[in-house]
Symmetry: C2
Subunit: 519 residues, 2 copies
Amino acid sequence: MIKNILGIEVPEQIDGLGDVKPYAGVWSNIEDNKVSENVARPVKAKKAHTSKVCDSLKEAIEKSNPHDGMTVTFHHHLRGGDGVLMQTIEILDELGIKDITLASSSLTSAHDGLVPYVEKGMITRIFSSGIRGRLGEIISMGKLKHPAIIHSHGGRVRDILSGRIKPDLSVLAASAADEEGNSTGSFGPSAFGSMGYADIDAKYSKNVIIVTDNMVEYPCIPASVRQNYVDFVVKIDTIGDAAKIASGTTRITKSPMDLRIAKIASTVIEHSGLFKNGMSFQVGAGGASLAVAKFLREDMKRKDIKGSFMIGGVTSYGVDMLEEGLFQAIFDVQSFDAAVSTSVLNNPKHVEITCDHYANPNNCGAMTNKLDVVVLGALEVDVDFNVNVITGSSGEIRGASGGHSDTAAGANLTVVVCPSFRGRLPIITEKVHTVVTPGESVDVVVTERGVCVNPSKPNLKAALIKAGVNVVEIDDLRKEVEKITGTPAPKQLGNKPVGYVEYRDGSILDVIYNVENLS
Amino acid sequence: MIKNILGIEVPEQIDGLGDVKPYAGVWSNIEDNKVSENVARPVKAKKAHTSKVCDSLKEAIEKSNPHDGMTVTFHHHLRGGDGVLMQTIEILDELGIKDITLASSSLTSAHDGLVPYVEKGMITRIFSSGIRGRLGEIISMGKLKHPAIIHSHGGRVRDILSGRIKPDLSVLAASAADEEGNSTGSFGPSAFGSMGYADIDAKYSKNVIIVTDNMVEYPCIPASVRQNYVDFVVKIDTIGDAAKIASGTTRITKSPMDLRIAKIASTVIEHSGLFKNGMSFQVGAGGASLAVAKFLREDMKRKDIKGSFMIGGVTSYGVDMLEEGLFQAIFDVQSFDAAVSTSVLNNPKHVEITCDHYANPNNCGAMTNKLDVVVLGALEVDVDFNVNVITGSSGEIRGASGGHSDTAAGANLTVVVCPSFRGRLPIITEKVHTVVTPGESVDVVVTERGVCVNPSKPNLKAALIKAGVNVVEIDDLRKEVEKITGTPAPKQLGNKPVGYVEYRDGSILDVIYNVENLS
């Protein structure tokens, strides 16, 4: 073990993955024009005029060289409605495959069914940007053989390019596909919008299976994944639950607390110096974060500001702003509801992008690196501005890294919105249980009790004070909160690592230890 | 030297490129799901919020680590109007860079200016799918230090993926681009349509410069090359001569001979068993080849046939057929005139594709592998159906391999159209001077004096005879032609290799020797 720059003890090696570096700062591994060490794409041949279509997912998997120790990957565009990952794992189990590394771009409530496969050791390693529910609990209890690796969205692309994740089989859901595997998420009964996370799997996996419940006549237009990356195509009855695919996370909150925080955040943005023509913007999909968009929209109209682009994580709220002309374009790596799919399909200014294009820290044009303002949520924030979005109050894994650290690093202004406490739980705290986004990349924390500005941004602090924003020192806020909540009881943790938080550049930020008593 | 399967002596090693394999048959190196040995992409980092824009092409080149022995690459979408390749070579010469490998996807009449740079040894090696004009002549006379490598369009992608071509600097012209390098050929004063050939350079080159004469506000939509592949962006006065970019090769011929051959070819297609709903089709852009489209269009309307897709090499004639509903889609790797650019830009069914997607022999979904019918031209065809499209009557380099061998290999029906002789020159001959497309992949040769069917296709031969087509044995046709033209004087050749014809799979098909007396 070695201490990283945050003073956290992290491993220098991970069993089966070899050497890893301790986190050394947001930009410490990024140099202009530096070529990163990457693996070659497994470009696969196929003779002319042979069919890729299989009668069943099982047949396609059997043709894809399933073997013990393999890495199986998925995208999570179907979110809570996903029906493809579990079907695949069940088939691999039927085939007696063991010691599987599961590398889905994220894991959701649709994947609680993984629990028995982890418990019996069929799945022994997990890479993901998020782990929730019962699966998060059993991993936190030490039931997964190797510690889970939590990466960011951009970090996952880097993991695959660098060979840390080596996909043997990728089963990629599409809401429409043709016989050659040209496929999209933008139309069909199970439409889910952008296929941005699937691109890197399609390009770098040894075996790519497209599954769809909507086989269309050749050629499928538009096609996000093109036929030259696809080995097999399968029509199945359903790729998932369409109602849950188009999730309801995108409605503006009615919570007075969230709305109050969002209103303050919009004031912060307005006086940041970045609120002007040509600004670019990203908000998260939930709670106070999305509510900021509502106030920003009003502010933009009032001041006649025309932005350049939005990225995300796109909600129908964002689509409305595009259609109103408030922004020139949306770059969409992930679409959050059905209305967004229609926009991806029909509006040329709604541009689907790959996750490489969105957030890969090692490329020369990630969208996150061109971002002006991002608004992000938090489970905890500490006095060094470090943010936890992965572990809960007992120290259990229950959240998602997602694009949090990617956008925070790239944006000119990173705003974290959160209440200062929830119930008896302080959110502004001495030290976050798990660092996902380093404080170095967080500029402002907006709470209902005041706004904290990172000491690295004195000019911003002065501007906000001048604008009448209630700026407070974060340690003062912490003390105030602690008076209300009291000091929480210490978490009951063991000393077995159950998860590693990988920073977007591949270095190790933090270690998650097993929880002995899950409350 | 070793004899390949055609009995042609070819090298087993090429100086500076290492081992090469002798050609062993059209599909001898292709196995389903076989992973080819490829190099990794040089993924380059860049810090957030830094500009890629340079004041001049020279500045961009100076920032791109120019050095002796480097490989410089270009696309040829500007065809005879290209103004970018020569500007780049002139700057590199100014900077004193020597021993350059030039790897343009093709070379045209716009590149005669390369002659002095080859003669003085500044450019020492050339990879290209085509070489014409004065440049072809001096290479044929032995003035290029290393033999030129003639590859196919698909073979070029394979050459780059496999590391045979290692691009150090790619200067890629766009008719519109933004400050991050998002770029397109589909609009702007110098619009040239698809950027299909540029994709592999953008992805695999160590330094990518986008040059445009039409810098647009961020973001450029649509974008064929995306910002995550681009290092520098430069606005220059002109990328070339727009009139020559939109070349005139796409008008239907008025030559009675070509029209007669085309009419026969369309009859061959009609009775091939492939002329039915769902057929797919490619024709070349010139002469008899394009004229086949005219007759096919009439035949399709007459018989109410609806095709699936066209690929190419797209002419405005193809666009008309798409708009008439004769085909469902066009897949466009290269657009031949200004009207095509408008269609690429506006018609969702006119799909721009990369050259990897078009013709890479090593991938699992090349469009050429799904093609039903292709119609191709020829400079010479021999009695084994081998086709020469690269060397002229004196043995000099004067043509282009292009997609000839790629489409011939993939199509269910490969039709070569040519007159049986031109002036005193037999076209149907005992042995072609240079094999570019192996006879194994050619099904039918259509001339004004009869149609020759490859003996490997007896059923096709029977069907054509039944349909009343004038089917003749190719050796009989050769004899008949020779009676008319006489036996041509032997070519005056030296024994210095000046070019190697690489088959699409990377094996060596033929050697071009120096010409001692250029007539």
